[in-house]
């Protein structure tokens, strides 16, 4: 199953299982906005439950929150993360604080699904990866799947979560393929943590979303190099669980963080800070971050090729950290 098919399947299965769940967002009746991730759902579940909306990002997100706190679980979809910025009030002021500030004790079944649409000469306002912003906010759960099985499972879990979830997809992961078994039940999202994808002794790599796909490809290229790596897919950025990362650092002493977003005040800094705070004595080398350059995304393909992280860049950092001379 492809990543995008897994997303569609999770929404399909959740709509089927959760009778009250509604899906709202711009373009959910259209084939252009959300890839094939909503194909057929409007006709299968009806326009009362799968609701295409006016652009109104803040209005629709607030509406979804209001539905969630009055007994109607809601999934709201922002086809581009850049546009979701207009919904910051409903997300940051309202959804994340409703429980705490109003002593609210019931579930808030609200999932906010958004897509990072990088590349394709789309430029600065159709490409942003803002996972670090949302991970700053107490009260939100922030999830970034990299594989089809995780896309399916984490979305099912998000839609069953009693807390507001920011579910971040990467359009560049949509064609990832994986065979996996769909289970009838999953543990609560609150139990999900970062996951070890490959096991090794020489280096710890921590990566998010699409960057994990890149790291996996880089490691396949390096198969002949006798470098073994703990590749940890972060998956859940808020609340952040670092135990598995610290365990790995104790073993490898070396850390590479790959996050296809900006460096300054980013989640990559958070990972390194945690390792320095709790595992400094184990570090054998200064950690390295691979992030986007500190500029908005360009449109020209020539510039895009330099702007976005590539496999060669990851391989070079792996070599640097493991001091492998075969370059």
């Amino acid at each position: 199953m492809k990543y995008v098919e897994a997303i569609r399947q999770a929404i399909d299965d959740s709509l089927s299982k959760q009778e009250k769940l509604v899906v709202l967002g711009q373009g959910v009746w259209s084939p252009f906005y959300v890839g094939s991730s909503m194909d057929g759902l409007e006709s299968k579940y009806g326009r009362q439950r799968v609701i295409d909306t006016p652009v109104s990002e803040n209005g629709v997100t607030g509406l979804a929150l209001g539905a969630a706190i009055t007994g109607t679980p809601a999934l709201v979809i922002h086809p581009r993360m850049d546009f979701m910025i207009l919904a910051m009030d409903s997300i940051v002021n309202a959804a994340s604080k409703w429980r705490y500030s109003l002593n609210y004790k019931s579930p808030i079944p609200l999932t906010i699904r958004t897509i990072i649409n990088r590349g394709g000469e789309q430029g600065a306002q159709h490409s942003q990866a803002l996972q670090s912003w949302f991970s700053h906010i107490p009260g939100l759960r922030v999830v970034m799947p990299s594989s089809p099985s995780d896309a399916y499972q984490l979305l099912i879990q998000s839609l069953e979560s009693p807390d507001p979830v920011i579910f971040i997809e990467d359009r560049w992961s949509y064609d990832e393929e994986e065979e996996f078994e769909i289970k009838t039940a999953y543990p609560p999202l609150s139990e999900e943590k970062p996951k070890l994808i490959t096991k090794g002794n020489d280096l710890t790599i921590v990566s998010t979303g699409f960057s994990t796909n890149l790291c996996q490809k880089a490691l396949i290229d390096l198969k002949e190099e006798k470098i073994t790596v703990d590749l940890i897919d972060l998956r859940v950025l808020q609340p952040l669980h670092t135990e598995i990362i610290l365990e790995s650092i104790k073993k490898t002493g070396k850390l590479l963080v790959v996050d296809a977003a900006w460096k300054n005040s980013g989640i990559s800094a958070e990972i390194i800070s945690n390792v320095c705070e709790s595992g400094f004595a184990y570090l054998k080398k200064s950690p390295i971050r691979i992030t986007l350059p500190s500029s908005p995304a360009p449109t020209s393909t020539i510039l895009e090729q330099v702007y976005y992280t590539n496999i060669e860049e990851i391989k070079e950092s792996i070599f640097n950290l493991t001091e492998n001379s075969k370059r």
């Binding site: 629709v60 209001g66 706190i69 009055t70 009030d89 705490y100 109003l102 009693p162």
Partner: protein, 327 residues
């Protein structure tokens, strides 16, 4: 609990007085620095909440804003819990973590208030979506002021309510002020209901300082919303007799305020209603005094009880950020 009269008129007067005297008491205690949390008093605006609440049911979803003591109390919210909340006590309606600007009484339909101007309007839409799906006669109610019409999400919400056919009552308490600025310094037209017309939403404009008018007029519109499942809009003209925030009247702030204060004090909704009662002959002036005395005693004793309540434990600080399963 206050022992309300069985006579409907007297009961209404008692409710108006409870709200008025509670807020006057808060102003007094704030001036003596007995608490710090910002209070936005609605003195002069009480008749709107009291009149509208008479036509609401426990199954309706009502949303407030930064100036919501009257909305909360008129629906039956506990005065003790309101005072305790303002004093930061764990018995407060929001556990002492919300203060005057985050109040809630879900058992009475008051889902919650938040202070971001217009922030709860889209959330109320979500309540209306739940009502629509539930296929009963419940409605959602959104209280906001004239300043909210200067926020983008207000316009998003009116459009969404109309296009999605949501059973919501928008209540604009047009008190002619947004913080220190008079409406003539902010908008080219004093009538907020012009935006209801633009969105093809049925609307009624009324004297918000006349309890009988508010009750009678809103009754018509509310029963229409219950039947047609389409939105309605009330614009209730009123005047804030106190400043934007705190215990002062702010006589010198804003356009023409000193003179307007004299005019609007003559239109005080509590005085209005007390005069009406006296004019009905069956309520002699002595009886009005008796009611005032009874309400004063009640308000003071609830304050006293709230001052004696416990503060939250410091270990509660980071509790209820995320859902905590009931044990």
């Amino acid at each position: 609990m206050f022992n309300f009269s069985s006579d409907q008129n007297i009961k209404d007067f008692e409710m108006l007085l409870i709200i008025r005297k509670a807020e006057l008491l808060l102003a007094d205690k704030a001036s003596k620095k007995q608490f710090n949390t910002p209070i936005h008093l609605g003195i002069g605006q009480e008749a709107i909440a009291v009149g509208i609440s008479k036509n609401l049911q426990k199954s309706d979803f009502i949303f407030g804003n930064h100036r919501s003591h009257a909305h909360y109390l008129a629906l039956g919210g506990s005065l003790f819990k309101l005072f305790a909340e303002i004093l930061g006590k764990s018995d407060g309606c929001s556990g002492g973590k919300g203060g005057s600007m985050h109040i809630t009484s879900p058992e009475n339909g008051f889902i919650g208030s938040m202070p971001i101007v217009a922030g709860t309007i889209p959330i109320a839409l979500g309540g209306a979506l739940t009502c629509k799906i539930s296929n009963n006669s419940s409605i959602s109610v959104s209280y906001f002021g004239d300043g909210a019409a200067e926020e983008g999400v207000f316009h998003e919400a009116l459009n969404l309510a109309a296009i999605m056919e949501l059973p919501i009552l928008f209540v604009c308490e047009n008190n002619l002020f947004s913080s220190h600025l008079h409406i003539s310094e902010r908008q080219p037209n004093h009538e907020i209901s012009r935006f209801a017309i633009a969105n093809k939403i049925r609307y009624l404009a009324m004297d918000g300082n006349n309890l009988n008018e508010v009750e009678k007029e809103s009754k018509k519109l509310i029963s229409e919303i219950r039947q047609t499942r389409k939105p309605g809009f009330i614009e209730a003209f009123t005047y804030r007799l106190f400043g934007h925030v705190g215990f002062e009247v702010d006589e010198m702030i804003g356009y023409n305020r000193k003179k307007d204060l004299e005019i609007w004090s003559e239109r005080d909704p509590v005085k209005n209603f007390s005069n009406y009662l006296v004019s009905q002959n069956d309520s002699p002036v002595e009886m009005i005094f008796e009611i005032e005395k009874k309400v004063s005693l009640y308000v003071e004793s609830e304050w006293q009880r709230a001052t004696e309540a416990d503060y939250p434990s410091v270990t509660d600080l980071d509790k209820n950020v995320y859902y905590e399963a009931k044990i």
